[in-house]
Every structure is written in structure tokens, then in C-alpha cells.
């Protein structure tokens, strides 16, 4: 069969159009798996906490915060302070706010236990120094850990001015209470750094962080960028302090220390 050049070009052009059009239709019809946000997820621009130390009825109530957090996140209890792992814990006031230490400070402040945890800084030094981007800042302000990427170099621990990070020097699993292990949350392995993640796994399903939920209002969780949020109302009406603000890390955890209640007591 003889075919003229003109005819050949016409045929070639037509088949090219059909060919391209055909794939486009088939491609469009094909269903592709996708990743989605949980509709229950809490939405915020910059999550933060206000901790009112005077709303805790007793020191035992403060300690309970650590217990609750450490239980649901499978944080091991290691007695050796050189090896311990902690997400939320207490330090004495002068250690949490060293620049506020003063010999004339009301006596009870010298031994007052203050809750401390990761401050989820707006300008986090740990994120800046992490060589593998294992720790990173999420769009909602949470400073998050990706344990899969952590190589245990501890730059972040050197970078964090709050001591909020712990390295797993030893396998943490033998130090978990087998009766209390939370089967829905992973453990960690030897050689990774861990810290508070502001309960990202709870926020993702519409729940506030566990400490805020269990604190009877002493810890308030909310969006610092939302002027109508409860946390902003507290910040607008109370004098609050942050840890080491002079470093420029801009923590998202605020403290109300020695509010009206203390003044009334005359303590």
C-alpha cells in the first residue's frame, strides 16, 4: 500500500491527539490514594500553654502531671539522674528562673516546685542545630521530634537552654512498668533524644494535651495567635513570665507565679 507523505502526517497527527487524550481520560478516572487531615484535629497557628503554679492544690498534684504524661507516652522511670528521661517535671523556682533568684525573695519561692517542659519556642535553637532535621517546627508551632531520623548526636540537648531534652542512654523498655505500658503509643530506642511533643497525637484527634486536661485549670492550652482564645484572655489579664526570655527563643509556655492568691495569704 502506498501512502503519501501528506496522508501519513495527517494520520500521525490524529493518532497523537487520540493517544494523548486517551491517557488523560484514563489517568483522570483512576483513583489515587491520598493523605488527609483528621477532621477532628484541633487547628491552631501557634499552640501554647499558660501554667498557673498557684492553682495546683498541693505538690502532689504537680507531681501527678509528670506521672500522667510519662505513663501515656511510655516514658521510662530511670532512677539514675545521669540516665533519666523526662518530658515534664519539676524544678525549684530559682532553677527554673535563675535570673529572678534573689536573697530577699519570699522564702517559699526558694523551694517552690515549678513545672517545666519543652517550651515549644517560636525560635527554637534545637531545630536550628539538628543536623538531620529530626526535630522540626510544625506549622502549628509544636516543636516536634521525628524519632526515625534522630541519630542521637545531642546537638539539640546542647542547644536547648531549658534542659527539656533527654537522651536514651540505655534501652528504655526494661524501665517501663509492664502493667502501665500504653499499647497505642510507641516507646523509644537506645540512642534517640526525646522530649515533650505537646501531645501532638491528642491534638490530632481533637483533645488538648494530657497535662492541661488533668490539671483542673492550672494548665491552659490554646492558640496564642487567636485573640479570642482563653489563653490570650489569661495573658491579657495576668502578669506572666517566660523562661529565659533574654535568649530570644520566644517560648510558648507562660507562667503565672505568685498571683493574687499568694498575696492574700501573705505568704
Amino acid at each position: 500500500m502506498k501512502i503519501e507523505r501528506r496522508e501519513f502526517l495527517k494520520l500521525a497527527g490524529l493518532s497523537a491527539i487520540f493517544g494523548l487524550g486517551g491517557t488523560a481520560i484514563a489517568g483522570g478516572a483512576k483513583q489515587i490514594a491520598e493523605y488527609k487531615n483528621d477532621p477532628k484535629e484541633l487547628k491552631g497557628k501557634r499552640w501554647g500553654l499558660v501554667i498557673d503554679m498557684d492553682k495546683f492544690a498541693s505538690d502532689a498534684d504537680v507531681q501527678k502531671m509528670s506521672e500522667i504524661c510519662h505513663t501515656i507516652h511510655n516514658v521510662p522511670t530511670i532512677a539514675n539522674p545521669m540516665r533519666e528521661v523526662k518530658w515534664i517535671w519539676t524544678e525549684q523556682f530559682p532553677n527554673v528562673f535563675p535570673e529572678l533568684e534573689d536573697k530577699f525573695l519570699a522564702e517559699h519561692y526558694h523551694h517552690k516546685p515549678v513545672l517545666t517542659l519543652c517550651n515549644h519556642c517560636e525560635n527554637p535553637p534545637c531545630v536550628r542545630v539538628c543536623p538531620t532535621k529530626a526535630t522540626f517546627k510544625r506549622a502549628d508551632g509544636i516543636v516536634m521530634m521525628d524519632m526515625h531520623r534522630c541519630i542521637g548526636c545531642r546537638f539539640c540537648m546542647a542547644g536547648c537552654p531549658y534542659g527539656a531534652r533527654s537522651l536514651n542512654w540505655i534501652d528504655p523498655r526494661p524501665f517501663l512498668d509492664p502493667k502501665k505500658i500504653n499499647p497505642e503509643f510507641p516507646t523509644r530506642m537506645k540512642g534517640v533524644v526525646e522530649k515533650c511533643t505537646l501531645c501532638y497525637e491528642r491534638i490530632a484527634v481533637g483533645q488538648p494535651p494530657a497535662c492541661a486536661e488533668a490539671s483542673n485549670g492550672a494548665i491552659v492550652f490554646g492558640d496564642l495567635e487567636d485573640p479570642k482564645s482563653e489563653i490570650r484572655k489569661i495573658l491579657a489579664t495576668h502578669y506572666t513570665i517566660r523562661r529565659k526570655p533574654e535568649l530570644g527563643t520566644r517560648p510558648s509556655v507562660y507562667y503565672v507565679i505568685g498571683g493574687n492568691k499568694d498575696a492574700r495569704k501573705g505568704a
Partner: protein, 131 residues
């Protein structure tokens, strides 16, 4: 050939030694792994299908788990809309292992066979298996 007998004997011993792993391994290594889906959770399912069809899961599960991990941890997106339109919570511990509650009879079967040592279980907890 000088010392022909000794050389031949030596050669036979040498070849025998070198071939011994193959000879002793004959018929042992080619038993295909048989991962079991015999768990109460899977038995209770009307239609026994994983997140994606079996053939896809067989070849792609490792890549899928990597993608799930990145999506959940890095992007905060936790729901997986499968190709059949069903939605799943992307979680090894809370989704995969809820059905496949028999790690030693499922995961380990093939992993051991091919000599793969995934480090998932260094951190992620496995369901307690009744013996």
C-alpha cells in the same frame, strides 16, 4: 603426575568441604514462607482485604509504611484514603497490628526468610501474642 593420589585426595576433600553447605542445605531452604492471617480480628471480617489489595501490600507495604510515617510525623496528616475510598488511621501500632496481631506468624515469616531486619519494633510495640 607426581603425588597424584595425594593431590586427587586433597582436591576431593577440598571440593567436599566447599560444597558441604549446599549438600546439607538441599531441600531445606526452598520452603516458601507462609505468613498466617489467622487472627480473630481478620476472621471476623466479612471481606478479607487489607488497606490495599493483597498483591499491592505484598510488594509495596514497606514503601507504604515509609510514606505513612512521613505523612503522619512530618505533615501531621493521619488519615489514609485508600484506592477503594475507605479511610484508615495511618498507624503501624494502632491499625496494622490491630488486625495482624500475630507478628511472629505474619511479619516475621517473610522477614526471616529474606533476611530483612526492619527496625520498626525497636520502638513500636507489638500486640501480646497468646501461645
Amino acid at each position: 603426575m607426581y603425588n597424584g593420589g595425594k593431590i586427587l585426595l586433597g582436591l576431593i576433600i577440598f571440593i567436599g568441604l566447599m560444597a558441604s553447605p549446599f549438600i546439607f542445605g538441599l531441600g531445606k531452604g526452598d520452603a516458601k514462607p507462609t505468613p498466617s492471617i489467622d487472627t480473630p480480628e481478620i476472621k471476623a471480617m466479612a471481606k478479607k482485604q487489607c488497606v490495599e489489595p493483597k498483591e499491592v501490600m505484598k510488594t509495596e507495604h514497606m514503601k507504604m509504611l515509609n510514606d505513612w510515617r512521613d505523612s503522619v510525623v512530618r505533615d501531621g496528616k493521619r488519615l489514609y484514603k485508600a484506592t477503594d475510598g475507605k479511610e484508615y488511621n495511618m498507624s503501624l501500632q494502632n491499625t496494622c497490628m490491630k488486625c495482624h496481631s500475630n507478628k511472629t506468624k505474619f511479619c516475621d515469616k517473610c522477614h526471616t526468610y529474606v533476611g530483612a531486619q526492619p527496625y520498626c519494633w525497636d520502638c513500636h510495640l507489638t500486640p501480646k501474642e497468646g501461645v
